[in-house]
Symmetry: D2
Subunit: 317 residues, 4 copies
Amino acid sequence: MQPEGFRDLAHLGSVELYTAVPEETRDFFVDLMAMKEVHREGDSIYVHAWDDYEAYTVKITGREQAGIGRTYLRASSPDALSRRVAAVEAAGLGDGWRDTEYGLGPVFHCRDTDGHELGLYFETKRYVPTEEHRPSLKNQASRFPGRGANVRRLDHLNFLAADVPAASDFMFGTLGARATERIVTDAGETAAIWYSISDKSYDVVYTSDWLGARGRLHHVAFATDTREDILRAADVFLEAGIHIETGPHKHAIQQTFFLYVWEPGGNRIELCNAGARLMLAPDWETITWTQAERAKGQAWGLKTIESFHTHGTPVIT
Amino acid sequence: MQPEGFRDLAHLGSVELYTAVPEETRDFFVDLMAMKEVHREGDSIYVHAWDDYEAYTVKITGREQAGIGRTYLRASSPDALSRRVAAVEAAGLGDGWRDTEYGLGPVFHCRDTDGHELGLYFETKRYVPTEEHRPSLKNQASRFPGRGANVRRLDHLNFLAADVPAASDFMFGTLGARATERIVTDAGETAAIWYSISDKSYDVVYTSDWLGARGRLHHVAFATDTREDILRAADVFLEAGIHIETGPHKHAIQQTFFLYVWEPGGNRIELCNAGARLMLAPDWETITWTQAERAKGQAWGLKTIESFHTHGTPVIT
Amino acid sequence: MQPEGFRDLAHLGSVELYTAVPEETRDFFVDLMAMKEVHREGDSIYVHAWDDYEAYTVKITGREQAGIGRTYLRASSPDALSRRVAAVEAAGLGDGWRDTEYGLGPVFHCRDTDGHELGLYFETKRYVPTEEHRPSLKNQASRFPGRGANVRRLDHLNFLAADVPAASDFMFGTLGARATERIVTDAGETAAIWYSISDKSYDVVYTSDWLGARGRLHHVAFATDTREDILRAADVFLEAGIHIETGPHKHAIQQTFFLYVWEPGGNRIELCNAGARLMLAPDWETITWTQAERAKGQAWGLKTIESFHTHGTPVIT
Amino acid sequence: MQPEGFRDLAHLGSVELYTAVPEETRDFFVDLMAMKEVHREGDSIYVHAWDDYEAYTVKITGREQAGIGRTYLRASSPDALSRRVAAVEAAGLGDGWRDTEYGLGPVFHCRDTDGHELGLYFETKRYVPTEEHRPSLKNQASRFPGRGANVRRLDHLNFLAADVPAASDFMFGTLGARATERIVTDAGETAAIWYSISDKSYDVVYTSDWLGARGRLHHVAFATDTREDILRAADVFLEAGIHIETGPHKHAIQQTFFLYVWEPGGNRIELCNAGARLMLAPDWETITWTQAERAKGQAWGLKTIESFHTHGTPVIT
């Protein structure tokens, strides 16, 4: 079902990751994911994926513990932004406007019901390539790197949440996102739910936090152009000594071809490829997977790896 | 720039192709493109691509000459449909409602300024797979065929038009599509222009008809999941004696990986793959390619094939 | 080290598989592996992979239990054949000449030390395509099928053996094969050993049979042109209800990209792709993997599936 | 037909390229082809492809004009080397032994009938990776680079020759290579002929020099693991401003998937992928392509680019 306010948010803009080893995390994104460093400010290093039209893709911030900082969502227009801000304020989750973010105009700070920090904005600074990064084809943000995982852009976020139904109400009712797929346990609880704010089949996912903690991260995903990019990346990660958690394989849910690794700071990073799959139907009915269906594992029979249910960031002991 | 009414149209639904050899054209779509026949009615055969959620993808209609029949566009909601219908009627291009189309609810018949027939609708019949075509994964419309070109869905249409600026005004001002890229000649004329109604970088293209004819077709394109699908398809077409016109190669404009063939009826068919490229920016600025830039050929240096400027359907002598 | 008689055998020719459901096994090879039926004789159905220059690739023979029948090996010349026959006879493993095999000239029947049946030959009948299977390019055996797993040719065999060292002596000392890689347990026993008779990195493998049985089969492997063929095949097998045992993934040993399934008769079938890897060094030193290295699993961390150590054909209870 | 002495030569070892801009040529091989510099000596820079088991793959030598220096061929054994040296000396084409080549033991210098310099050898120095280049999997020569064209190994050479029949007699009668495919003109002349000394379908090609010059180079080719590597490389070359001459496309002859570029020194470099195609038949009959067949262009219809018949190195004016 299409929520009110669907399309007020245009797409995921950028994400802030916390790490205790910011330089190592930066090297992971630059050397292996094929991003480039574009800015440093305070404790943060900003890196940019080659076809992101905005100023940066990931803000890497030094912190004692890994985890996710603020997630930025771009609205479709100034009016659309106003509507969503009003809805968030009505829900009592607003934290006011800021005008100090690198690469962005005024940003409305807020939280989801689980405490994940969000930033809504419309004004943005286009990425302008330096001579070294100027592409040969002008319909592309910057030069094609052709190395490592070679990710084109940010794809989606998977938040761990203590209260998935509450977070779901917020995504649907307040932000205007539509649920495309979900897992419902035999007890009738939503174990995970996939939200789309675009023609992509998902942009934000909520997964039930097994520890009941709030505001944690399951993973951040980046899109590659081909499945072959992901196979090659697996060899690149192997050589670099990066922990390969599971994959490459294909999810049954959403049918994404995936590879999961842990960046040096401990955050789980996914490489994903959806082929030509899009969720074009305006009235797409949420698909529900049962516990039994989920137990079958991934599309080609791989069992879901145990650490998927034990590792989130920040790590809580 | 984002037009008024952007997002009122959700996506391209289906397309009707005329052919003097309907059974051969049907076999092309079924045997080589991996679609399946789902319906016959009058002079028409309906075929369905494996991940199309609607009842059919291409309607093949027997006619003396090849060419394009009606193109169906699905609206985002009943209200959105009403708004676009009102705009089309205001432009004097409406032909009234019909309720007799296979697989569709009420369809508003109309034309673009060049005479290409269009149909706007919201109500649609979901594809329901027979036992033979039921997929293993329920988030997919029908069984993965894994043969030939294995196209997932309809991707875009390229219309030849006598008056590209008029057609452009219609697309932008009446249908609410945004122009993402275009070619402007040294004389200042728009030789071709790419329109998007979705997050895809284009759904409908207008190319100047070198003969000044109206209502003709340059090509219809179908999306594959990978570039490898297109390479494999080239061998499949070679074995089947299908005319391979040009490719596989990569366009500079829109960066699409492509292969062009002529189906047995003579209509030009493209296989295309965009990788993970999407046009997520709500305020994307139209990119303009000059005549000189266009003369450089495709992305990797292949010259544009001469028959691209001499072959359209119906063929006019 | 290069054995005496290396290159006397040119390549693996064909293989006979036993199955209790020959028609279903035949359909697996034809519908999913993209072979074609070329001959029937007695209880056997002969199928041919699209770029096999010989008359057939797999002989499917109805039997009460699954397993492997005779494996055919082509010699490099009549003289080379004589040399290998003499060596086999000297080892007391010869069973004499036959001249009744479909598609082959005189065949010398023999056994390895474990009892697997072999056939050595030089004279062979080239595959001559029917009109329907005639390829467009004359340097290819038959028409490119472009469907399913689309395997090009037979790649290798993995025999289970009660006594791997004895079988190894036979391969090296009698047949002139070179060992390219092997697993040696902490107890100093060879758990598995990979033999090459060509520039491929392996053609025949011996794996220790956990039940101490003789003459059983671990798997038969077929080569695809790309890793993408294997990813697509995984979806094809999923749709067809074929048991996918493990993969797609990449072996650490030999670095093969693999997918294992069980054909309807129960025999384990591998799809494999080696990329551009060849064993060109004439003096390649056998690489030894320790038990600890083996325990790390496959190249990208997948653990070796348990059924690899419990399922062989014939199944013994 | 299998020549006498077939298998006395095991494989192509390495090749020397002349260039007026050795540092730029070096950067092409290191930055774009993913090799690494391993040695410098005199006017030469040695670079190594990631899965070459020998000390180096290409020797880049500064010279006034581009072209090919010495081509090194490894024999299968000391005895095999003696046999080929005796045959070359009998043909009057020997130039005596040298023991000063980097990475090689004693090398027998000689020429083909057209004057291309060759070096035959058996003793070789294995590539020993530095810590930085040590691979994770020990059955691989050095670390997987995962960047640019990412070529695994040298694949083949295409020599231009004034007298192709004479060079062919030398390859077949003296070096023991087998001809797998050839082009014969309507006048009965061999325009090009492909020779194999291994299980690969070709290692050395002779093409008729349109200027009747001697000792020139058409191209040197390097193998990638996948076709996707070649597609990605095309984008990498585009960004780097390298001249892309033709491709990616598929040859009809030998069915190689190809891309041709000119390195900064002007030598034509091919990226090639053969899929799983091997020439396993010991008695493969040479396939002959007529002038008319050749005129059809490449496998998928691309016409052979004009500069294929006008550009060789050294460039002669």
